[in-house]
Amino acid sequence: MSTSLSGIFFGVIKRDIRLAWSQGGTGTMALSFFLIAVTLFPFGVGPEPQVLARIAPGVIWVVALLACLISLDRLYQADFEDGSLDDLALSPLGLTGVAAAKIAAHWISTVLPLVVASPLLGILMNLPEEAYGTMVFSLLLGTPALSLIGSMGAALTVSVRRGGVLLSLLVLPLYVPTLIFAVGAVDASAGHVDASQPLALLGASSLLALAIGPFVSAQALRLSLE
């Protein structure tokens, strides 16, 4: 049988999306966490509309980032535990390609639902009307960086028991630039200022993460096979 590399690539994406939304998968978990955690803020800081509007972009972005983070520790760990990682490493696609496919699947299955749900939470947080478009666009543009950077951390901690905390320590500092550019863009739109500069920087951070993420993840996974 001849080998089709694109068939393998899309096969891995389909497989991971399916597993993420099956029983015990991370897709539903991350989305529920996102909805519940943002809902806590009006209770915590009080229901004044001006206060909520001021903190809305930051809260939505930080919680989306944390929701992404809690789903990351299972990205490679489930495959490591049941031995599938050996099979992934033996795929003719190569481990870098497999890592890229798994990251894409993580973004589609776990992060994209957060982006879709974000306008709803914008209403809850009294986000200024002008900022909705930029918020959704900034999430679309910036969250791939979260999956890509997180994948490197997940690959490095795959063989660590209870590696979730270590993963947070590794990954959260690297999320800071993405967060600053994204919230800067949404705040700019809310204040009727041109948001194109922070958006360009946000896109650049995603592209940088795309350039190194799959490669570094594959190298880290190789270490865990030893």
């Binding site: 049988m1 001849s2 080998t3 089709s4 590399l5 694109s6 068939g7 393998i8 096969g11 891995v12 497989r15 399916r18 597993l19 099956s22 029983q23 015990g24 998968g25 535990e81 049941d82 031995g83 599938s84 050996d86 099979d87 992934l88 490493a89 033996l90 795929s91 003719p92 696609l93 190569g94 481990l95 190789r222 096979l225 030893e226």
Partner: protein, 201 residues
């Protein structure tokens, strides 16, 4: 260091058993051949080509089955096999091929059951089905007979004999007699002789 001065070759149609007590490096050697582990010194060649870690040529030539069963508990056995096939070739398996492979290990009626309901023996046999489902010349089998009853051991032996008759190669690490003929190498002969000197302590 796990072993040294080890040299062996496997020709088409040949079965090589790796023997030795637990911890003697049988599994390690299989994982080296599969490209999971780096070698400190020495080379592996496949045909005329040197065989490096992560080469596509390497992954298209071998099937590896290790200690873990590499099955997703939420998927059915059929789905697990299709996912494996798609990962290794990019295409799906023909239904009759899956049915034939399942008959070998007497798993036909379990094909559409989620793997989480399987016993450990059934999981192990499900994992062995990969050898019947993928067309690759070199089989790397780590303890393939563990947990198999006499009947399934027989089935495994005939599957291996068919593969050898078709010109395939098998490297099997095992303690048990399988029922297929092959050469043996004893890992005890390649234990490292050097020990750490006083200055290291």
């Amino acid at each position: 260091m796990v072993f040294e001065k080890l040299f062996f070759e496997v020709n088409p149609g040949e079965l090589l058993f790796l023997r030795g007590r637990n911890g003697s490096g049988k599994s390690t050697l299989l994982r080296v051949v599969a490209g999971f582990l780096p070698v400190r010194a020495g080379t592996l060649t496949y045909g005329e080509e040197a065989w490096g870690r992560g080469d596509a040529a390497l992954s298209e030539a071998l099937v590896y089955a290790g200690h873990d069963n590499a099955l997703k508990p939420v998927l059915t056995l059929r789905e697990n096999l299709q996912e494996l096939s798609r990962l290794m070739t990019g295409g799906l398996l023909a239904e009759n091929r899956i049915a034939e492979a399942a008959e070998i290990f007497n798993l036909g009626r379990l094909l559409d059951q989620p793997v989480r309901y399987f016993s450990s023996g059934q999981r192990h046999r499900s994992n062995l089905m990969r050898f019947a489902c993928l067309d690759r010349p070199l089989w790397l089998m780590d303890e393939p007979t563990v947990g198999l009853d006499a009947e399934n051991r027989q089935a495994l032996a005939s599957l291996m004999k068919n593969h050898l008759a078709a010109g395939g190669m098998i490297l099997a690490a095992t303690h048990d007699p399988i029922g297929a003929e092959g050469r043996e190498i004893d890992m005890r002969d390649f234990q490292p002789t050097a020990t750490l000197g006083e200055e290291w302590l």
